[in-house]
Amino acid sequence: MFYKNKLALAGSGIVILLFAVSLLAPLIAPYDPGAIDLKNVLASPSWEHWFGTDQLGRDVLSRMIWGARISLKVGFVATGLAILIGTILGAVAGYYGGWIDAGIMRFVDVMLCFPTFFLILAVIAFLEPSIWNIMIVIGLTGWMGVTRLVRADFISLRERDFVRAARAIGAGDGRIIFLHILPNAMASILVAATLGIAGAILTESALSFLGIGVQPPTPSWGNILTAGKDNIDIAWWLSLYPGLAILITVVGYNLLGEGIRDASDPRLKK
């Protein structure tokens, strides 16, 4: 148990560090992330540029520090949207049952037939690629798992005595759903949200890497990797460090999510 807690602690440490770096980006970035230096194009890592420079001579470390803001923002906004949709649909389906439940769950089944990445790309093809569109599209295509989860919780909770008691004293459906049942489902929603943030960050970086996500010159970990691919035979540092940042961030959120799950559900503990 202590071992597990240590890992969860490491996870929260990584997440807090990411917050700190994003918040303090203007203070800790050694260079202006957009400062072009044509005398120092594709310079390998050195004391002046720890992570080297890119094809325009911009400092990779500084761009990665500013890119952390994008990851943080995308993770929270996209997942927040997915959790909001998933929770409302799952709560309504689980609480009311019957044809409302059947309708919502068939909709979930249909949405799950689409390879998520295809759906995201298809929608983006119709919109301008911008950070806000990316976040909204990732959120709109990622709520199905949450719906299933919340629905299962609501089905197991809706006939409990405390719900009957609330109904007996005349509480309306909205009050029962949001004030009585939902707080009991919060733990699993929180776990899904933490793991969802990790997924959203991975998706955004893949989209930006393909050039459909965050558009240059705004730095994001994904679009630095695009430069890495373009200069794959001469500048390994462009490929290595941003990917490591993504990996560590995702590991951090995953550890945190599993830590919350273990803490909230004693049955899952080994």
Binding site: F107, C113, I124, K229
Partner: protein, 324 residues
């Protein structure tokens, strides 16, 4: 058995209709009509293109009639004509690239099974051993690695640093002059990295799942019975336990299909493989809407078909499923 398959196919029809509805909705997602969008956002859009859009989606008709006639068209296999300069039917463009994507996804599935099942079984049988702990760490990292980044690193290491493997395309330039055996070898060396990258995401998931399954099966009464009647540990694990743990894994494989197909966009683009995923990426970049919608539809139908195959093989392997 036939009855079961028939039932599954009937069950798919509402899903198929739902898929077409969502595709239709995505087409209409943009503010205004798709033709406005074309002319506003795509400098290459011409009046002729606009006309073609109009006739393809019958935009002058009410929306339910538009949907109905689009549905009739796609049920005939008519996905419209591509906006790209070749003006070819979308269905043809997809069909000539589909075999490559399906082959790579199929090879990836094979690799996932061959690698993940033994890992899962061994880490369950030797629970808490160093092997179990090491694979737990690897799996955890596996869940968090961006596959396109891993692809870049492998390209740098095996393709550029060591020079062992080619890093793009399916064939070498001198492919036509090679002997049949050499051609196969050439194709294989081009496929190693893409197939590995495509399989990578599924490896972590299935091995974790196999481990959990195996741990549960080992605690069942019939395993105790098998041990009690004096069977060797080997027979208990590989004959009695493994079979029962393998069955539910079929469903997991079915569920991993959309991820594999979706991932084809990434690895086909990185490795310049002329499959459906690369076509999808190029169509998105060129705003070739008929092709984008065609591939979205085909991708969903492939997922549906994959799930059907998984369900049916599960029913073949486990008679209990057919009854319920």
């Amino acid at each position: 058995m036939l009855h079961y398959i028939f039932k599954r196919i009937i069950f798919m029809i509402p899903l198929l209709l739902g898929i077409t509805l969502i595709c239709f909705f995505v087409m209409r997602l943009a503010p205004g009509s798709p033709t406005d969008l074309q002319t506003q956002m795509n400098p290459k859009a011409s009046a002729e293109m606009k006309e073609r859009m109009m006739s393809l989606y019958e935009l002058d008709q009410p929306i339910h009639i538009q949907y109905w006639s689009w549905l009739k068209k796609i049920s005939r296999g008519d996905l419209g004509t591509s906006f790209s300069s070749d003006h070819r039917p979308v269905a043809d463009k997809i069909m000539e690239r589909l075999p490559i994507t399906i082959t790579i996804n199929f090879l990836s599935l094979l690799i996932i099974i061959v690698v993940a099942v033994p890992i899962g079984v061994l880490s369950a049988v030797y629970q808490d051993s160093w092997f179990d702990k090491a694979t737990a760490v690897l799996v955890f990292i596996g869940f968090a690695v961006p596959t396109f980044w891993l692809a870049l690193l492998l390209m740098i290491f095996f393709g550029i640093h060591l020079g062992w493997l080619p890093i793009s395309g399916l064939r070498s330039l001198n492919y036509e002059y090679l002997s049949a055996g050499r051609q196969l070898l050439d194709l294989a060396s081009h496929l190693i990295l893409p197939v590995f990258i495509s399989a990578f995401g599924g490896l972590a998931g299935l091995s974790r799942y196999m481990r959990a399954n195996m741990l549960e099966v080992i605690r069942q009464d019939y395993i105790l019975t098998a041990r009690a009647k004096g069977l060797s540990e080997r027979q208990v694990i590989y004959k009695h336990a493994l079979r029962n743990a393998l069955l539910p894994a079929i469903t997991i494989l079915g569920l991993s299909i959309p991820g594999l197909i979706g991932g084809s966009v990434i690895f086909e683009t990185i490795f310049a493989i002329p499959g459906m995923g690369q076509l999808f990426y190029m169509s998105v970049m060129a705003r070739d809407y008929p092709t984008v919608m065609g591939i979205l539809l085909i991708g969903a139908i492939l997922t549906l078909a994959g799930n059907l195959i998984a369900d049916v093989s599960y029913a073949v392997a486990d008679p209990r499923i057919r009854v319920s």
